[in-house]
Assembly symmetry: D2
């Protein structure tokens, strides 16, 4: 076992750190950051900067314009990107596009990759992942899927309703999960401009960092050809899992960066702000919060790196990524909450980035499975005697 980074990753880490500091953070107060995330003009400016810095889509294979980073490498890069809420947008590693690119790379046909992965990786278009449904449809329990894709000649006709569809507004590509009667859940690709796709409305949410916000999307007899099937018929849930473990973990990476940012801001404040005769950080009530922050950041990072190693060893890592999701989402939340507290009144305002990180982060404890669903799943594994992976082999 070895806890050191390769020289290449160390160098990439430093480069992204500088890029975020110099090129991204100055844009955080740009008025184009709206209630539904950065608008397209701002996104294009950010993408342009990352392209010039050679940092665009680092998770995608070089053949499609990326840096071909392993999961481990992504852990390093995405934490740095997450240091600004705009960083993942700039590097083109924000959700859901980053996970969608990963899925396309794993499952799509060469033609589908040319059509969708290439422009996605170049940051030219955005995408959305249409899975979650309003009650009584698929939420934490995907088996409750209500949207159907009915064969009709060589086509499929898709009907149903989805919500919490991140990035729907402005997306060009939709990946749609639907039930093919008698066959099973299946994924389809469609242009969002196709007739039969209606963006009913954008939802009003606490968070603001996702380009396009979160929409309600209706499929009103959307007709797609068989060539729009992603992978194989009936394999929708399996592909969801292929997408899910890495996607959960990349959320962890990005939010770790955001939490580290909040901690840095709170630390500076605790050094400078005086109260009751000394810098507030010298009061144990504040100093202990800083110490707890550092510990939470440390275990989050170790957990992410470990899970990434398991993924890199070729495992599906459902157990490990569930575990990482709970550990990290709860730890970084504690960090963000403590930083608000340390900053006092200012922690609840836009005077610093902390309030925005805090509000945006809350949803992270819910999406890609709330802690409760993961704990339930972990418990089932434990009771069955399943041992999680160390990394390439054995268990720990």
């Amino acid at each position: 076992m070895d806890f050191n980074l390769s020289p290449e990753l160390t160098e990439l880490q430093a480069r992204i750190r500088r890029f975020v500091a110099d090129e991204v953070i100055p844009l955080e107060r740009d008025p184009r950051c709206g209630a539904h995330g950065p608008d397209e003009a701002l996104r294009e400016e950010l993408i342009g900067r990352a392209r010039r810095a050679g940092l665009l889509s680092p998770h995608v294979a070089p053949a499609y314009g990326g840096l071909g980073l392993s999961h481990f490498g992504r852990s390093i890069a995405f934490e740095e990107a997450g240091y600004s809420l705009l960083g993942p947008v700039a590097l083109n590693v924000f959700a859901p596009d980053e996970g969608n690119m990963h899925l396309l790379e794993e499952v799509a046909t060469p033609a589908q990759k040319e059509q969708w992965l290439r422009p996605l990786a170049a940051g030219e278009i955005r995408s959305c992942f249409c899975m979650t449904e309003p009650a009584p449809g698929a939420g934490s329990d995907p088996s409750m899927l209500q949207t159907t894709a009915t064969p009709d000649g060589d086509d499929y006709v898709i009907s149903g309703r989805k919500w919490f569809i991140t990035g729907a507004d402005g997306a060009r590509l939709a990946i749609i999960m639907a039930m093919v009667p008698g066959v099973g859940a299946t994924m389809f690709l469609s242009d969002m401009a196709a007739p039969g796709i209606v963006l009913e409305r954008n939802m009003d949410t606490l968070d603001r960092c996702f380009p396009g916000g979160h929409g309600v999307v209706r499929f009103d007899g959307l007709r797609v050809p068989a060539s729009a099937i992603l992978g194989e018929l009936g394999q929708g849930f399996r592909y969801a899992q292929v997408r899910l473990s890495p996607a959960r973990l990349t959320h962890c990476m990005r939010w770790l960066g955001a939490a580290r940012r909040a901690h840095d801001i709170a630390t500076d404040y605790a050094r400078q702000r005086q109260a009751f005769g000394q810098a507030i950080g010298r009061h144990e009530g504040v100093g202990f919060m800083l110490a707890d922050n550092e510990m939470d950041l440390h275990v989050s990072r170790l957990t992410i790196l470990h899970c990434a190693s398991v993924l890199d060893a070729g495992h599906l890592a459902l157990h490990e990524s569930s575990r990482a999701k709970v550990i990290v989402s709860e730890a970084v939340w504690r960090v963000a909450d403590r930083c608000v507290q340390i900053l006092g009144g200012q922690g609840t305002t836009s005077e610093t980035a902390v309030a925005r990180i805090f509000a945006d982060m809350r949803a992270f404890r819910i999406y890609d499975g709330p802690s409760e669903v993961h704990r339930w799943s972990l418990a089932k594994h434990i009771l069955r005697g399943v041992k999680p992976h160390a990394a390439a082999g054995g268990h720990a």
Copy 2:
């Protein structure tokens, strides 16, 4: 000891509960609820409804148009008002006006009461309390007060800068804490329209429930006559304490109502939403959160009622109200956080009132003293052997 309510309070409780349900909650989605709280038109409509229902300013003496409720009675009434974030606005018991009226009633001269208390109690005007200052001024540590009031003939000339001044935008009355050199901290009353008061800007904060939001106010040689002194010269910190204990506690009352609302919404959802084969509330992961909510609400209510009784017995209750602030602000926050979690994705949206309660409530753990300052103060009392009051006497 007796845990029953009088028939009068039981009846008042029921009346406010109906009023909030029928007259206030329907206005929650009114577009006049903006980023800086309900606007004046909406406030006037709410005030009008409460006036017609005979529920306006229940904490103020009947001579000034209120119901003359004791602190205990306020505990019952304000919890009910807090069930909607607009409820305290309607009943004219929102912060800082409610505490300001209390302070005026305790300390102001008859003439000052006529001038300011009477229209405040009628809901005709609003007020603000100008105490908190940007660094290096007075925050959690009030002794760092920087704003000065310099005698000049029979007048005082006030200079300084304040922020987090809730309700400044639109307020008619300002209560200003300033240091009179050689004399000590002193409170002054001023019309906000007076020359020398500048509202620099409104702050961008997580919360939205306070009419007028939170402003940055500058005093640029504001001239006030000696008759504008509230109470006595040099007694500013003492009056701040007179205001503080009850004001802390009324925050607790209102937020308890808001937390109960969130819990009711989450309970309904947990009954109806199905996942993994049953209503989600039947899963212990959710059911236990409901149980914890009920326990947190219960201890919050008992703690408030106890502290109110100590205040009603004539004690200053600094220890008891510090204790209540920490217990209640942390307990109701846990409730709000759990309710977001139970609602899943919807908990982070405006589909229900929960997300708004959650975001607005975060600041409650900070204002009127963060938990850390209260714990520090409680510790000092404990080490000195100070025993908190049972109620009218003895200790418990």
Copy 3:
């Protein structure tokens, strides 16, 4: 509502406080306190002292030699008794005898009362309550009861095995829960010396405060007459509930006293012990623990007093006592744990009473239902819309 004690209770509180300080605490290091609790000689000495002080069996009706305290009065008295782990033994209000006396008073025939309640109330004999069984029998889930009582002529023949039978070793009376085939769970009274009762062994447990420790008891064809039935045939579970709510609550009362003791010891230590330049209590890391202790003690006390009032109003209070059990058992445990931490190394030794309180208290989170069973039960009530009682009526 009123948070003051009557003069009578205030006086009783003071009397017990003095008695415990003067007559009980000096015996805590008596070598007759062994691994299985105080032995009979020590118990008799303690009982004698309480008798002379007029404080024996305060919960029992005067007709049987007690003070006839209400549940509310017991809350005051038992907290004071619990200030020493030997205090409940002295006042004859330790478990399970205190709950057994309560049950006999509620359910037993006059003859049974003369035979068993009178000598129990006088402290002349001890009793045990034989309900819990080894797997696969009745534990947290009483419906799994395996012990049977088979009718045989006018008698019943009882067979089965029980464990965690507190006080079995040395008890004169056994109250036995057994299943009468075709009829239901039923309670029986028996002399422990009867043939067919075997005390297999005493269990080795973390706690040491219960006279007689905890035993494993086997019923090997124990023959009892119909007159040994406690109350009515088939009503065993109902009587268990009659016993349960108050018994749960009296545990809370006694452990609250123990936690207050630990807090007092830790506070003294925090005042005196110096480290890093000042008394350790002046370090916020320690001072905040003292503040948290006080808050936990405060909400525990309020919760107990509230639940006692509901019981005194004639309600069964299953919901309220479940809630109180969770709130208090978890709060006082936090107090005990913090006190160990404050005392540092000494907290883990017999240098003070804290280590003993800590180790003994751990089981309190389990007996009379672990927190998990109570949370589950509370959740079911909440989902069904059951409102807990305020006190005599209404809800809060």
Copy 4:
């Protein structure tokens, strides 16, 4: 970075696991495990078994009979040893001897090593580390050292009083921290049988796993030659740090093993014990505790391995080991507490190893610095901008 074990360590891990299962656990109920830890006869039997298995003193250099494990290797080995509370005794890696051997290896002269390290590594003798003093002496704050070593000709005369001296009863070697006036804190080696060393008494503590328990030791004019100085005069505090970081971490390793044992026992129980219609582990209230256990064990292990890597890279690792101490001691404590809770009543008895692990582990949150001292120290580092090490370089 790489999370895999070398084949050699994987093999050693498996060997120790089997050894503990086959040779150590069967002795856990041996009556020679007393209130002050395993007695000498039992210790010798355990040592003999480990010697025959080739597993004795794996942390010591081969030249002195050990396996020469790195800190990283110790992490693997000591966790396995800790799976039984007797395992560290068997492998001769229990505290304080393991840390004392490490210190001697780092600092002692060749002659001192021959005299003391060799027989210690062979398990022939035991040792103690005499540092902690009763108030007002050195506890968490070592600068309060009261014991003095006054030069007298070529000798030093040591006077003072120490307590919590683990293993004093039965130890042959004492390492003594004393203040040489005008020079500074200095360490001395002495035979415990020397005149002037008095074992006043053994302390009565919650734990039972340390051979010899914890003693109060008085130095009554103990005379030692200059050759008894360990290392250099006045370097006592520096050597304490050399000993401290690794010693803190080996505690973490051993207790991680013990926590894993408790978790395994609780998991088995949760699979088998039925209540309310299913195995209790299927109830989320229990299942979630198992999930939390696994997460706590996981982050503990990662944190230990990381810190060990920093030590192996040659750093003093005071920051990293403080952090590891807090993270691990609190995490494994939560695990032990949950396991007691899952086992219900049995968790508080000697029916399983859990109650013993629970009671013994409590002190781990205190010795080698309570969490509060470490959080304070971490906060100071953070405020000064100190970055902890990744491993061989850089920071993470």
